[in-house]
């Protein structure tokens, strides 16, 4: 971000948040002083509560002092003073969020990025690797960019782009940062949890790739307002953004289907504001992106968290694989050694109302006719905000993104084997899925032949679906027979995870780690693949995950 923009944005966040509070109070006939006081009191309450628990924060003392000063003003100060205090509080949050962007570091970082990332992704010691594996592919071959890349490049010319990727791993933002760089686009701005900055190497890259900090410990509504306003303003200033519509990393391994649309809603807001200020480039586009790995760095931690407290996935994990540089290095080493690909698939852009757009950024209706998107927000000839209306638009946009995720999901051998094995486990044990995962069933292993049969069945369903454009397949999945696919997946499972998901003994396969199996199996959830598992009469299996994919279905 340019330094002059940063100041402008900070000042504007301040005035917008405070003014909209005052206006909101006036509009609903409330006492303005009272309204301001209430919000600030709320902030003090939430922040003091957080500070009591969050002892590791490096700025704990400053924060304490700050909120103590705010508290002193409550109760006695008049309306003007309170508005000032609120302005300060907003500034306090906003400057933490946008961090210490340094213009010079930023420019350097974008220049050294490809080399540095290549070094990083090639597991830090390229020399050693190259001597060990002279045929090792470089990062350019490991990360495969596909889909509507040309379209996305053109959209960037026509307006501001918001990338909306699936989220499995903390590596996602780095891989994406690199991919966007390879598209020839400037770095994107994105929010990242404070805890991600603990890995010093990653932290450095993230900060200088445009990451701003999101402290999920802060429960204060004012903080969330400031975050949203900050994102809105960067969009209005024409900075491309990256939003993870799933919120945090998916714990279950499944694709996000119910999306958190709070941040996504800023696209309608920013677009409306752009129309009001008659901005030169008012348009915004949301581009769905899927990431697909054969193995997921944090799979073990994530699925354990999912199963620990089913339906939550809300804990902030601070000490997972990502925070250990050696583990990250090991992960990449294995991926590259296996000649495995990471797929970054770009979908088609959409306007904030869920209409697809063409290369010039013109919105299209379902039959490809031009639509004037401004008319979605006009009222009496003027562009206006309307919280309820805009939420519906964003829900529509979210639905389109969800569909794109499903369509651009790239399936690898590990997903197919895990799907087949886990489905067979369920068929053999016929028990409650929660129980199966926690306690295990009577049958833990099966004949290789049986697995091949089920893999073949899944493959034929997947290939049909892929022909109809409903899913994407890695070459191994698209072309191998069951035997090769199973061998490929087993060697992948054996390569990195501390616990192996599947092991082979003679002509039998053992489900040695049900949780991991379940995790990779979930990547194929929602395609109704197991209707006919185990015979044509129907398997009777209900989907393993419930509708919102953050919870397990409790019944069998």
């Amino acid at each position: 971000m340019r330094a002059e923009d940063k100041d402008k944005i900070l000042t504007e966040v301040q005035s917008r948040v405070v003014e909209s509070t005052i206006e909101g109070a006036k509009g609903s006939g409330r006492d303005v002083r009272h309204a301001l006081e209430e919000i600030l009191a709320d902030s003090v309450y939430h922040e003091r509560r957080r500070l009591r628990e969050d002892r590791k924060s490096p700025v704990r003392d400053q924060d304490k002092l700050f909120w103590r000063a705010v508290q002193k003003e409550l109760g006695t100060a008049n309306e003007r003073t309170l508005a000032d205090v609120m302005r300060r509080a907003v500034r306090h949050y906003a400057s933490e969020i946008c961090g210490n962007f340094d213009d010079r570091v930023y420019r350097v970082a974008t220049k050294v990025l490809p080399t540095a990332l290549s070094v990083l992704l090639n597991s830090i010691s390229p020399k050693r690797l190259v001597t060990k594996f002279p045929q090792m592919p470089g990062i350019d071959e490991t990360v495969v960019l596909q889909g509507e890349t040309e379209h996305v490049r053109k959209l960037h010319e026509a307006g501001t782009v918001v990338f909306a990727p699936t989220h499995l791993s903390n590596l996602d933002s780095i891989i994406l940062g690199y991919s966007i760089f390879r598209l020839g686009l400037p770095p994107v701005i994105y929010g990242a949890g404070l805890n991600l900055f603990t890995n010093p190497i990653m932290g450095y890259f993230m900060r200088n790739l445009g990451a701003y900090t999101v402290d999920r410990r802060k429960r204060d509504p004012l903080y969330k307002t400031v975050l949203k306003e900050y994102a809105t303003l960067t969009l209005e200033h024409g900075y491309d953004n990256l939003f993870f519509p799933g919120g945090t990393r998916g714990r279950s391994g499944a694709l996000e289907r119910r999306l958190k649309l709070g941040l996504m809603g800023t696209t309608v807001t920013a677009y409306t504001n752009n129309l009001r200020t008659r901005a030169a480039r008012p348009k915004l586009f949301v581009v769905p992106v899927t990431l697909s790995f054969k193995l997921v760095l944090e799979a073990e931690t994530l699925i354990d968290d999912f199963l620990k407290e089913v339906g939550k996935g809300r804990y902030i994990i601070t000490d997972d694989e990502f925070s250990k540089p050696t583990r990250v290095a090991d992960f990449f080493r294995q991926l590259i050694r296996m000649n495995s690909r990471m797929y970054v698939t770009f979908g088609r852009g959409h306007d904030p109302f869920g209409n697809p757009v063409d290369e010039q950024g013109e919105s299209l209706d379902p039959n490809g006719r031009f639509v004037d998107p401004a008319r979605y927000v006009l009222q009496g000839g003027m562009p206006v905000h309307d919280t309820h209306r805009d939420k519906q638009y964003t829900a529509e946009l979210g639905a389109r993104i969800g569909e794109a995720f499903s369509k651009y999901n790239v399936i690898q051998s590990t997903h197919v084997l895990a799907r087949a094995m886990f489905t067979l486990l369920r068929l053999h044990n016929r028990t409650d899925i929660v129980r199966l995962l926690r306690v295990g069933g009577q049958v833990e292993d099966m004949e290789l032949r049986e697995v091949y049969r089920e893999v073949d069945r899944v493959l034929s369903e997947l290939r049909g679906l892929s022909d109809r454009g409903g899913i994407m397949l890695d070459p191994v999945v698209a072309r191998s027979d069951a035997e090769d696919l199973v061998a490929d997946a087993i060697s992948a499972f054996a390569s990195y995870h501390a616990r192996q998901a599947v092991t082979r003994k003679g002509d039998r396969l053992f489900a040695s780690d049900r949780n991991l199996l379940f995790y990779y199996h979930n990547r194929l959830e929602g395609y109704r693949l197991d209707r006919n598992a185990g015979g044509d009469s129907g398997s009777g299996l209900l989907p393993a995950l419930s509708d919102d994919h953050r919870t397990l279905r409790r019944s069998r």
Binding site: P366, V371, D372, Y393, E396
Partner: protein
């Protein structure tokens, strides 16, 4: 505000009884109304009932001729039954605008001509959405009896839309009159309640035709309501919708036009009349014009494809009857002998 909410123009596409009645309500509030219907006779008949209509010979003339300024409120009423909806929505799609408010009162699920394995249930608002750029789509539900719209009798309708705008536009029009408009956000629930009340009406008609008495009718209605509620819940609808005017409220009045027609159709089937003949007798062009029959078929197909917690006993029975798979008596017997399990959505009896 009141004036800002007032529609500047309205377009009615299709001259069914309900479309004409709504045109009358709009005209009575001084709003210019342009009406299109395929047949000239239908247009002229509408003009006789509602004075001051601008009759149009093409959808383009009706919609673009209305000249709604960007951001002004324009109402487009798709006054056609389910069988005609895809065609009219497609024709309207060429001229639709993002700020249009689109209303319909379709009481049926549209037929899927092609069997797409991943296809969705063709609810009316989805059909409209699939052909147009419009978002502010609303359904009118509840016991709508078209002739009552022009009578001073108290009348209530449910207007369901995820957006507020359709409700505000209609509520502004009916304020102070004898029509009370209730707002709902549950468009899926209201559409399904309307569609499935016709399925229940066919079953009720069969029971009447076989002279099984009022108890049987009561059981069938209850079954229809509860299984639909459960099914609809799986599609994201709110169960409470079925306790409201669009659900229970819709089952009680018997003389709502579409209910009457479906009951008659059911009674004819009970007496052994062939489906196509029965359909003609109740005034449908073909069997596909019987919304309850098509809805039963589509819902059952969808449930078989995707799975549903609801067993859809009644819908399956009506579907089997309409596809000549069994006799009326056998089928109703099958339904009536089943335990009335209302399921988690509605509690158990």
């Amino acid at each position: 505000m009141a004036d800002a909410q007032k529609p500047s123009a309205a377009v009615v596409l299709g001259a069914g009884p309900l479309g004409v009645a709504i045109a009358g309500v709009l005209r009575a509030r001084g709003i210019p109304v342009r009406l299109w219907a395929r047949r000239k006779a239908a247009r002229d008949a509408a003009a006789d009932v509602v004075p001051g209509l601008t009759l149009c010979t093409s959808v383009e003339e009706a919609v673009t001729g209305a000249g709604v300024a960007p951001g002004a409120i324009g109402i487009v009423v798709l006054g056609v039954p389910a069988s005609g909806l895809p065609e009219v929505a497609e024709a309207y799609g060429h001229f639709a605008q993002p700020d249009h408010i689109v209303l319909h009162a379709v009481r049926g699920v549209c037929s899927t001509s092609t069997q797409v394995p991943d296809g969705n249930l063709q609810l009316a608002h989805r059909v409209i959405r699939a052909h147009t750029c419009a978002r502010k789509i609303g359904v009118l539900g509840g016991p709508l009896y078209a002739p009552d719209l022009s009578n001073p009798k108290p009348l209530a309708v449910v207007l369901a839309s995820p957006f507020n705008e359709p409700f505000m536009a209609v509520a502004g029009l009916t304020a102070g009159g004898s029509i009370k408009v209730h707002q709902s956000y549950d468009i899926v629930g209201v559409e399904l309640a309307g569609a499935m009340s016709n399925v229940s009406a066919i079953a009720a008609g069969v029971a009447e035709g076989l002279d099984l008495g009022d108890t049987a009718v009561g059981v069938l209605m209850t079954r229809g309501l509860s299984e639909t509620a459960q099914f609809a819940q799986g599609l994201g609808a709110d169960v409470r919708t079925f306790f409201g005017l669009a659900g229970v409220g819709d089952l009680i009045p018997r003389h709502v036009a579409s209910t009457e027609r479906h009951r008659e159709f059911g009674a004819l089937l009970a007496k052994g009349t062939e489906v196509a003949v029965a359909a003609k007798k109740v005034g449908a062009v073909s069997a596909e014009g019987i919304e309850g029959m098509v809805s039963a078929r589509e819902v059952v197909r969808y449930a078989d494809r995707v799975g549903s917690r609801s067993k859809l006993v009644l819908a399956r029975a009506v579907n089997a009857l309409c596809s000549d798979k069994a006799s009326a008596a056998d089928i109703l017997d099958g339904v009536l002998s089943q335990h009335l399990e209302l399921g988690p959505a509605m509690g158990t009896v």
